[in-house]
C-alpha cells in the first residue's frame, strides 16, 4: 500500500477530465457534428428562399440565428443529455467518489463540448455566408464571444441534465428552452420585424445578447453595444456555472 493523501494537480485533472469526456464521444462525434449541422443548415436554406437575398440585416440575422440554433442543439441539448446520462449510469457518482473537483468536471464537460461543436459552427458560418451572401469580416472579439456563447449554452444544458430526473425529461426540457431562446427576442429575426412584446421579453433572453455579439464580431460591426453583450454573457455564464456546481448531484446527498 502506498501512502494516500495525494490529489492530482487541478490543471492535470482538468486536462484528464476533458480527455475522458472527449473519449466518451469519440464513437459518436460524426453523428454529433451531423445533428449540429443538419437542422441549422436545412432551416437556413429554407429561410434564404424566403428572404430572397435582398435584405442584408435579415440575412445576417438568419446566419447568426442558425449559429445560435447549432449552439443550442449541439451544446445545450447534448450537454443536457450527457449530464442526464452520467446521472443515470452512475458516472457522476463515480466521479464524486474520487478525489475529483465537481467544478473542474463541469468546466471539462462544457469545454469538451465546445471543442466538439467547433467543426459544425465553422461549416455553418462558411456555408451560411455563401448561401445568404453575407460578407464576413471576422473580428478578434470572436475569440471571446464564441467561448462565452458556448459556455452559456452548455451551462444551461448541464443544469437541465442535472435537475431533471430522466433522459426523456431532460430532452424535452432542453428542446423547449431551445425554441424559447431562439424565438423570444431578436435572435433569428431583426428587432424591427418583431412585435414589441417579443422585443421586451428578448431583453431577458441571454440568446439576444449572444446573437448580437456574434453578429457584430462576424460582420465587423463592433460598436458600443458589444461590451454590454459581453458583460451580460459573462455574468450569465458565470451564474449558470455557479448554479450548476451548487445543484449537481454530488456527495452527501440527502
Amino acid at each position: 500500500m502506498r501512502p494516500h493523501n495525494s490529489v492530482q494537480h487541478p490543471a492535470a485533472q482538468l486536462a484528464d477530465l476533458i480527455l475522458v469526456q472527449l473519449s466518451n464521444w469519440r464513437w459518436a462525434w460524426p453523428q454529433l457534428v451531423l445533428t449540429g449541422l443538419v437542422a441549422p443548415l436545412a432551416s437556413m436554406l429554407a429561410l434564404s428562399t424566403v428572404s430572397g437575398g435582398a435584405n442584408r440585416s435579415l440575412n445576417e440575422h438568419i446566419l447568426v440565428g442558425m449559429l445560435m440554433f447549432a449552439l443550442l442543439f449541439q451544446n445545450q441539448n447534448q450537454v443536457a443529455g450527457n449530464f442526464s446520462f452520467m446521472k443515470a449510469n452512475g458516472t457522476l457518482e463515480f466521479f464524486a467518489a474520487q478525489p475529483v473537483s465537481r467544478v473542474l468536471l463541469a468546466i471539462a464537460t462544457v469545454g469538451a463540448f465546445f471543442l466538439l461543436s467547433l467543426p459544425a459552427l465553422l461549416v455553418i458560418v462558411v456555408v451560411g455566408a455563401l448561401v445568404l451572401g453575407v460578407g464576413l469580416s471576422l473580428s478578434p472579439w470572436l475569440l471571446v464571444v464564441v467561448p462565452l456563447c458556448v459556455v452559456s449554452a452548455a451551462g444551461i444544458g448541464a443544469l437541465i441534465g442535472s435537475l431533471t430526473n430522466t433522459m426523456e425529461e431532460s430532452g424535452a426540457a432542453s428542446l423547449v428552452v431551445t425554441f424559447l431562446m431562439t424565438g423570444c427576442g431578436p435572435v433569428l429575426i431583426p428587432a424591427d420585424r418583431l412585435p414589441a412584446a417579443i422585443n421586451a421579453i428578448g431583453v431577458l433572453n441571454p440568446a439576444t445578447y449572444a446573437a448580437s455579439a456574434l453578429r457584430a464580431s462576424l460582420t465587423g460591426t463592433v460598436g458600443s453595444r458589444l461590451p454590454v453583450d459581453l458583460a451580460v454573457l459573462a455574468l450569465f455564464a458565470a451564474g449558470v456555472l455557479l448554479l450548476l456546481v451548487k445543484r449537481m448531484p454530488w456527495r452527501m446527498r440527502r
Partner: protein
C-alpha cells in the same frame, strides 16, 4: 528502529492514528418523502486491516450503509466517522483513501478497459508513468489483458465486474468498499476475487464488502454483520456467531421442488433454491431425522457442521 506512538500504527511505513476505519453509532437513514427506513439505529466499528462482510437479504439496507460509508449519501441521524472524523468533514480523506465499487457497473462505459483504469489511477494522484504501470499490473492481476482495448460497454457482465474491481483497486487505496463484488462472475473468477482481496488485505488494505455469497465469503471474512429490515441482527466473528446459535448441523437435500420433506416439518427448513432444501438441526434431532428420511426421494443428501450461510439464513430469515 523508531517506535510508533502508543495511539498510532504503521501502514507502509507511514504512521497513522490507530482509530477504527469506520465507527458507526446509532446510524439511521430514512429515504424520501415516503419516509422509508433503510438503516435503523446501526452501531458497529470496523478496525484497520479487517475483512468485514455485510450480509442480508434484498432490501435489508446493506447498500445504503456502504453508500453512507463512502460519503455519497448523508445519514439522517446518528454518527458515522471515518478514521475518527465525521464523514461530512472527511471528503478529502474518503476520496483519497477509499476505493468504492458500486453494484451497477456502467460508470465508465464509453472508455476502453485500459483507459478506465488509467484515468482512475490519474485521479488518485498517480503520474502518467505510474498510472500506465498500474494499468499493466491490474490487467495482469485480474487476467483481463486481452480486453485492454475493448470498450467497457461491449464487455459481458462478468468482464465488466472484473474491470470494475480493477478500477476500484487502481492506485491501491487502503480501504476498499465493495458492493456485491462477485455478482455476475463464474466460479473461477469468484475464486480470483476472494484470492486477490485476501492478498490486498495481507498488504494492509481494509476490506468491507456486501454479498449474498455467504459460502465463499466465509473463506476470507474476519467479521460479519448480518442485516435484516434495516437493522443489524448479528455482528461478530463467524465462529462466535455459530456458537451463539448452539452446536448445530446443516442438512442439505437436493430433490424435487415443492413442500418441505416430511421429517423436516417440525424444524426450520428453507428452500434456498428450487429443489435445494436447507435445514439447521440441533444435535439431538439429527439421528431421528436421518432415520426417517426417505433417501430414495433425493438426488443428494449432505450433513455437515453449520456454515456462514446457515448463520445468514438463521438470522436473516427467522
Amino acid at each position: 528502529m523508531v517506535a510508533e506512538p502508543a495511539d498510532s500504527v504503521s501502514v507502509s511505513g507511514v504512521s497513522v492514528p490507530d482509530v477504527p476505519v469506520f465507527d458507526v453509532a446509532g446510524l439511521t437513514k430514512v429515504h424520501g418523502r415516503e419516509r422509508r427506513v433503510a438503516n435503523d439505529d446501526l452501531t458497529l466499528s470496523i478496525a484497520r486491516g479487517e475483512i468485514f462482510g455485510i450480509l442480508g437479504d434484498n432490501g435489508a439496507g446493506k447498500t445504503t450503509l456502504v453508500r453512507q460509508m463512502a460519503g455519497l449519501i448523508a445519514p439522517t441521524s446518528g454518527e458515522l466517522r471515518f478514521m475518527g472524523t465525521p464523514v461530512e468533514e472527511a471528503e478529502r480523506e474518503l476520496t483519497t483513501q477509499v476505493g468504492y465499487m458500486p453494484q451497477s457497473a456502467f460508470a465508465l462505459n464509453n472508455l476502453t478497459v485500459s483507459e478506465a483504469i488509467f484515468f482512475t489511477a490519474r485521479f488518485r494522484g498517480l503520474s502518467r508513468r505510474a498510472a500506465r504501470g498500474e494499468v499493466a499490473r491490474l490487467l495482469s492481476q485480474w487476467a483481463i489483458e486481452p480486453l485492454a482495448n475493448r470498450v467497457a460497454k461491449q464487455l459481458s457482465g462478468g468482464q465488466r465486474r472484473l474491470l470494475q474491481l480493477a478500477v476500484t483497486m487502481a492506485g491501491s487505496p487502503p480501504v476498499l468498499i465493495l458492493d456485491e463484488p462477485t455478482n455476475d462472475l463464474d466460479p473461477v473468477n469468484r475464486k480470483r476475487v476472494w484470492h486477490l482481496l485476501t492478498a490486498a488485505n495481507q498488504d494492509g488494505a481494509t476490506i468491507i464488502f456486501v454479498t449474498h455469497d455467504a459460502v465463499e465469503a466465509e473463506k476470507v471474512v474476519h467479521r460479519v454483520a448480518i442485516m435484516r429490515q434495516g437493522r443489524i441482527v448479528a455482528l461478530g466473528r463467524p465462529l462466535d456467531l455459530k456458537q451463539e446459535i448452539g452446536h448445530r448441523f446443516r442438512l442439505e437435500l437436493i430433490g424435487t421442488p415443492g413442500d418441505p420433506p416430511a421429517p423436516l416439518a417440525r424444524v426450520h427448513c428453507t428452500e434456498v433454491e428450487p429443489g435445494r432444501w436447507l435445514a439447521i438441526l440441533d444435535k439431538a434431532d439429527v439421528g431421528e431425522i436421518m432415520t426417517n428420511l426417505d433417501m430414495q426421494k433425493f438426488d443428494d443428501v449432505r450433513l455437515s457442521s453449520s456454515t456462514l450461510e446457515d448463520l445468514y439464513l438463521h438470522y436473516a430469515t427467522t
